[in-house]
Structure formats: C-alpha cells, structure tokens
C-alpha cells in the first residue's frame, strides 16, 4: 500500500470520483471530482495534535461503528495517504469562531476549513475498473435478528473485533458484556444462494473466510466451542481443503443445515438457534453466546454510475459483464477498459490480485504498442438520410453511436468503439446506415444470385461468422452429410440480417429462409442477437398478416461446436422446403 503512495508514476487521488469520461480506446478524457480534505495532504505528518483537541466523537466507519473517532481523524493507522482528513459534516463549524481548535493546535498549519472541491482533468489510454464490492446487509433476514439482537454480528464486524489493530486490540469479546464468548455459531450463505432473498449466486469467499475465522479463534482460545451451520462447504482452492481439515481437527463442529430461527434469551443475551436435525427429523436447539452471520458480497453501489460513464453492461447478478466469459475474462465490452477484482464477480484476494495483474497486462499490451488498428468493418451513418430517430443508438451493444435526444442532430458512429455487428444497419428504417464490407448491396446481390435459377429448390441460410457459419464448417470437417439445397450467406452477426433481406428472398421465390446465429450466451456482440430474435418475431407476424405461412421463416442458434446440430437443421430445412408448394411461392411473390 505504501508503495502506491511513494511511486513516482502513480498519482493518487483520494476522496475522488470519476464524473465524466469522453473519447474512446487510447484516448479517454477523464474528469475527476476531488473532494476537499480540509487538511493539506502533503504537509500533514499525522502527528495527532489535532485529535486531542477535537471535541467531537463519532462512530468509526472503518471499525463499522465498533469504535469511535473524532471529526478530524486518520481513517486507519496504515492509511495511505497517511494525512488526516476532516469531515466537515461532523465538524462543529468551518468557522473558527464556532470551534477552530484543531487549526490552532496544528503547528504545521495544514488545516484549511475553506478548502474547495476541485475538478481535475487528464487523458489516459486505458482504464481499469477495480471498484470492488459491498457487503450484504442482513437486516432484511429478520429471522436471524441482526440489529435486533446485539450479539448477532456480521463476518466483517467480526474481522474488526478480532483484528489486532481493531477496537478491542484483537481480544475476542461479544458486544453486550465485552466478555469472551464461550460458544460461538457461524451461519453460512447469508444473502447468498437464495432465490428468494439476498442473491442467487455463491459469494465465493464466505466458506473459506469462516474456516479461517474459526481457526483464528481456536488458535487463541482453544476452549471456545464453535458451531458452523452450512449448506455446503466450498473449499476448492489451493490449500483450502487443508485449512478446512485443520479447522475440523481443532474441534470446530460443522453442522449441515441453516437454522430457521434465532431467539434471544432476554437476560443472558444468549442466542438460541433452532435447526432441523436431518437424520432425526426433529428440531434441535443450540444455545450460543454470539452469532456471526457469514455475509455474502454484492455489487458495489457505485456500479451504475461507472457503468454509465464507461458504457459497460452487467450480468444478471449485477456485477460487470466481461467481453467474453471464457476467452476475454478481464476485458470489458468497451475497448480499452479492463476489470480487476470483485467488480466483475466476488473473488478472494489471490484471485483479485491475479486478475489485477492480468488486467494490467492487457492494458500494457495496448499501451506498449502505442497504437491500434481499428476494425475496418464498421458502420457509417449518412447524415443526409438520418432522421434522428435514435433507434441505432438504442440497439448498439457497445454504445458506439452518439445520439442526443434533445438536439435531434443526426446520429454519429464512434468508429473506434464500433465492433461491426451491423445491428444498427438492420434496425435503421431510413436506410441511413451503411455497414462496411457487409453492405445491403453486397448481401442482396448474393441473395439474387442464389435464387437466380430454380429458386423453389433452394433454402436461403443467413449464418453469423462466429458461430453458425463456423458450425457449418465443423459439420464439414466432421463430414456430416446434408442435402445440397442450402445457400449460405455469411454476415458478421445475425443481428445484421435486415428485414428487407428476408422479404427480398421470399419475393424472389425462396421457399424457406433460415436466420441463424450464436446462442444467446455466446453472442460475439454481447447482445446483438437479441435484436435478431425480435426482428424474426416481427417478421413472423408480418408474414402471417400477408397470408404467408410464418413457418417458412426459421430461426436457429448454432454454436461453432455444433456441427451435428448444423447438419440436423439443414436436413430439417430440406424437409420443410419439400412442403412448400409452387402455388404458395407464387402467391408469396405476388403478395409481398
């Protein structure tokens, strides 16, 4: 930590928040709001003279309110920067008449009540998002009595209690009587792995944290009786199983099943846990002196702001979404942005450090090259044709299109951010968008050639470059045979398949059209294929209205590994094709 404070190339901006990000990969313009510290960071030597005179006492946030601090304080002893900070809301008045004791006490004169918040601006080439997580607040789980019963605490509060730098200097006590608790219970999965309350995911760290905490207690106070109530113990990392075994060998009792209720003995302030004994099928009571709720991790409350500033996305759990869950796990969908630590998902310290180094290395690759070539396959908006409807900006998974609702100016593509999926071009109803290398003309001419002779014998297949086209390749490599009626047209993403391509194919006499792309989870353009599906659904309605069987337009998600599925679907297409009569085709050609 202190290395950061000392490093000549690290500018540390504390009490600061990013308020604006402009630009794109390689050239981000950042605006940061630096809140006033009211103490000169460079001059303050953390001598503590001011502390002694400050008359205000407040709960200490760092100790989660288990201890107190003054209005002017050092967040914690090893803080970097080590300078004190004055909390103006706690201070009796930024008016020396009201108090002003600390300024007087400070020999170096580094306290300035009139210090102002400052906006700082700079340019960077890359961004690393390491915004971390918050800890789940178990108050809503009323049955565990957190905040109702004083001796029910969270695992993070426990960390402060048992920390040698903490409020009790590392002595284990329970809150009501400051005595060593003789019997302690841990309850696992608080706020995790529940579909009903809290979060459905596993928070990754809580099992091992409890195993560690149980050993911390046993190492110092072997007489303390410890019961751990759990669903499963997940000890899958290097050295984890050993630690778990050590904990069991030290006498920690691991009991499967989460207690359904906790009651408090109003006098002794002891807690009675009701849990079901699965073997006996009856309810058992466990009386303990203190309960520690092993709370899970939740996305940082600032995530939505960062998400907006950097145009990121989130997965269903609320954590940030990677560019690809397996192949680009530290890259953000926005080029030049990377993830480190719990911002992306709950993880322990080792994994956080590993990911941080990976993110730094990914950023390093870009910066050491000093330049990057950007995708030639990008979209282009014709200002003359654009009606400023804004649809394109809404569908773009990368927020690569700038569009100002108020100003009603033509939309603009930020080429360095565009990944070239073509969803915008397919959605623009005014034909204002040209997809480079996959233009309407190019695709239409392929359709026309495919259906030039005997269209009734052909099946037109749109296949996305990454998955379904590659799935077709895999069928080939595996020599899986299918009928030769299909004519494949490649697009980068199924999201490129414009309504008019499909209708044009039917107009030219195609009996069957198949639109195929990646499975939702594999979409190489984050979510562009959601628009494919919506468009196909709309087309089904449209065809039906015109009296054309919607069955003639087919949809399929085929991955690059699904050669078998590709061949199977092609056979099915041929079967469907045989069912389409000449009359039907002629009718369609007339109607559309």
């Amino acid at each position: 930590m202190t290395d950061v404070g000392r490093h000549p190339r690290i500018e540390l901006l504390t009490l600061s928040e990013v308020v604006d990000v402009q630009g794109y990969i390689g050239n981000f313009r950042i605006k940061v709001l630096r809140k006033a510290r009211y103490v000169d960071e460079k001059e303050c030597t953390a001598c503590s003279d001011c502390l002694e005179v400050c008359p205000v006492t407040k709960p200490n946030e760092f100790d989660l309110g288990l201890s107190t601090r003054k209005a002017i304080y050092q967040p914690f002893p090893q803080a970097v920067p080590s300078a004190f900070v004055l909390n103006l809301e706690d201070c009796l008045g930024n008016n020396p008449i009201a108090c002003g004791k600390c300024a007087e006490a400070c020999d170096l004169k580094c306290i300035d009540y009139d210090m102002q918040d400052k906006e700082v601006e700079f340019r960077v080439g890359t961004v690393i998002v390491a915004t971390g997580m918050d800890v789940y607040d178990p108050t809503e789980l009323d049955e565990f009595g957190y905040t109702r019963f004083e001796n029910v605490i969270t695992s993070l509060e426990f960390e402060r209690l048992i920390n040698s730098g903490g409020p009790t200097e590392g002595h284990l006590i329970r809150p009501t009587d400051w005595q060593l608790p003789k019997r302690v219970a841990f309850i696992q999965c608080i706020g995790s792995r529940s579909e009903k309350r809290g979060n459905p995911y596993c928070s990754n760290i809580c099992c091992m944290n409890t195993v560690k905490d149980s050993l911390l207690i046993k190492d110092h106070w072997p007489e303390v009786e410890i019961k751990v109530f759990y669903m499963d113990i997940r000890a899958f990392g290097k050295g984890f199983e050993d630690l778990y075994k050590r904990s069991k060998a030290a006498g920690v009792m691991y009991i499967r099943g989460i207690p359904g209720d906790i009651r408090e003995d109003p006098e002794a302030k002891n807690l009675i846990l009701l849990s079901e004994d699965r073997n006996e099928g009856k309810v058992v009571e466990h009386e303990v002196d203190m309960v520690i709720l092993s709370v899970g991790l939740v996305p940082n409350s600032d995530s939505p702001i960062i998400r907006q500033l950097l145009t990121l996305s989130q997965t269903s759990d609320g954590f940030f979404m990677e560019a690809h869950p397996k192949l680009l796990p530290v890259d953000a969908p926005t080029k030049g942005v990377f993830f480190a630590g719990c911002a992306e998902a709950p993880k322990d310290i080792k994994d956080s450090v590993t990911q941080a180094s990976a993110a730094a290395s990914r950023a390093n690759i870009l910066m050491s090259a000093g330049k990057i070539t950007i995708e030639a396959i990008t979209s282009h908006i014709d200002e003359e044709l654009c009606k400023a409807c804004g649809i394109c900006a809404r569908v773009c998974p990368y927020h690569a299109i700038e569009f100002d609702k108020e100003k009603k100016l033509p939309a603009r593509v930020i080429e360095a951010s565009c990944h070239g999926c073509g969803a915008c071009a397919a959605e623009c109803t005014f034909g204002a968008i040209t997809m480079r290398h996959f233009t309407d003309q190019q695709i239409i001419s392929q359709i026309e050639s495919a259906l030039g002779e005997n269209p009734q014998d052909k099946v037109v297949v749109f296949a996305c470059n990454w998955c379904s086209y590659a799935g077709g390749d895999f069928a080939g490599i595996s020599r899986l045979q299918y009928p030769p009626s299909v004519r494949i047209i490649r697009t980068m993403c199924s999201g490129r398949v414009d309504e008019k391509f499909v209708l044009h194919a039917f107009k030219l006499g195609a009996p069957i059209v198949l639109v195929s792309g990646c499975h939702f989870a594999d979409c190489h353009y984050i979510s562009a294929n959601r628009w494919t599906q919506k468009r196909v659904e709309k087309l089904w309605d449209k065809l039906e209205k015109k009296g054309v069987r919607p069955e003639r337009l087919q949809l399929e998600w085929i991955s690059a590994a699904e050669g078998l599925k590709f061949a199977k679907v092609m056979k099915e297409m041929e079967e469907l094709r045989k069912g389409v009569t000449m009359e039907e085709i002629e009718y369609t050609q007339k109607e559309l």
Binding site: W540, W557, V569, E572
Partner: protein, 49 residues
C-alpha cells in the same frame, strides 16, 4: 405465480406453455419436443380466434 404464455414451435408444430412476462429480457427458447429455436409466442388475440 410466474406469468406464462403459449408458444408454438414453427418446426414441428408442438404447442406448449412457458414462463413469460413482457417485462423479461429476451431469452433463448427451444421447443421441448424437437429442440428447435423457431419458437413463436402465440399472442392473446390470435388465441381467441
């Protein structure tokens, strides 16, 4: 209770019910009978006919 809707497979013709709410994010659907993704939601008014 979760909302449901009627679906029809445009490949094999199978009809089935599946959880659906207009508020949902679009999701990948497959026919429980033939596995096809050509699954169409049958809207209310079409059902009455």
């Amino acid at each position: 209770m979760a909302e449901e809707a009627d679906f029809k497979c445009l490949r094999c013709g199978h009809r089935f019910k599946a959880p659906y709410s207009p508020k949902d994010e679009p999701q990948e659907r497959a026919c429980p009978q033939c596995g096809s993704n050509s699954v169409r939601r049958i809207k209310e008014k079409a059902k009455g006919k």
